[in-house]
């Protein structure tokens, strides 16, 4: 059976719900536990670093050089705002896909991808800046927990970007008709999930001193 014809045949399920959508929600549920573990570890070791760089306090290096707190709130706030707006853009893309408006679908999904790319770029710059400032993965507890938590989130965002980019290319080639909009809805659910995880990470890591 071809992929196209598989979509055309209704399949009854005991719940009356699409199995693919139930599967992505189950996956998202398991991911909640994964990120809860990482956030728990970050919070447990918060403020326990013995040597700098520190996230919110100025610090002095062994050579006597003084440094400012390492976190860059304005840059990350911009990335956060764009990630939040990308959630809005992807629901607009989904609405466009559901009504068969290919132009709206491509435009809004393109905007979502742009915001996601900015966010990942912001995170790459931030990591580069931190390493340049002397914060390696094993420098202190802050470095280990920060890179693990935000690195795993960034990886999820990157996977979501690849997923959305694939759908954007399919839509560009006219292979995402309204009856297949669930393909985008499932990807959008994953994208919203990485957004809600960041909604928790942003205040915990960047704003709580």
């Amino acid at each position: 059976m071809s992929h196209d014809s598989a979509h055309a045949i209704p399949i009854e399920t005991s719940t009356g719900l699409d199995s693919r959508k139930l599967a992505i929600w189950t996956f998202i549920g398991s991911e909640c536990l994964f990120f809860a573990s990482l956030i728990s570890v970050y919070m447990v070791y918060k403020g326990k670093s013995l040597v700098g760089p520190f996230p919110h306090q100025p610090w002095t290096s062994p050579t006597g050089q003084e440094f400012e707190p390492i976190l860059q709130i304005p840059l990350v706030t911009t990335g956060t705002a764009l990630l939040l707006f990308s959630s809005f853009f992807v629901v607009m893309a989904l609405a466009g896909a559901q009504r068969g408006d290919r132009r709206a679908l491509l435009g809004w999904l393109g905007a979502t991808i742009f915001c996601g790319m900015f966010f990942v770029g912001m995170q790459v710059y931030e990591f580069y800046h931190f390493v340049h400032e002397g914060l390696g993965y094993t420098t202190n507890l802050f470095g280990s927990t920060f890179y693990t938590l935000t690195g795993f989130h960034g990886t999820h965002v990157t996977i979501g970007l690849i997923w959305l980019l694939t759908i954007w290319i399919l839509a560009l080639r006219g292979k995402l008709p309204p009856e297949k909009s669930l393909n985008l809805e499932i990807a959008a659910l994953y994208w919203h999930f990485v957004d809600v995880v960041w909604i928790v990470i942003f205040p915990v890591v960047y704003l709580m001193r």
Binding site: I11, G16, L17, K21, V41, I73, S87, P203, R209
Partner: protein, 115 residues
Amino acid sequence: MNDQAATAHQKPHPGTAGYIKIALTLFVLTALEVGAYEVARRGAPPGLAAVVAPLIIQILLVLSAAKFALVAMFYMHLKQDSKIFSSVFVFPIIIAAIILFALIALFWYLGIQHP
């Protein structure tokens, strides 16, 4: 199952105007988060800082929870979709919250026992 069958359990989605209102609300809540952080950090203006600084963690938790709920309910369509999806999402979140508080309590206790 085709997509029409998949949406059989859905109520109508918020629509463009609703999505825009939610996006603006999320933006305002984020601005409030960063604003509260800056007021607490700078200690200025003094009157506002005296109120915000002692409650900064609670303020950030409430704002973050509100943003989380808005995205989950309206953008992820949990408010309109089948309750089964909500259950599959909310149950792990409850377990996650228990893990979070249990670990924090455990390490707090260990910190007291072995300072």
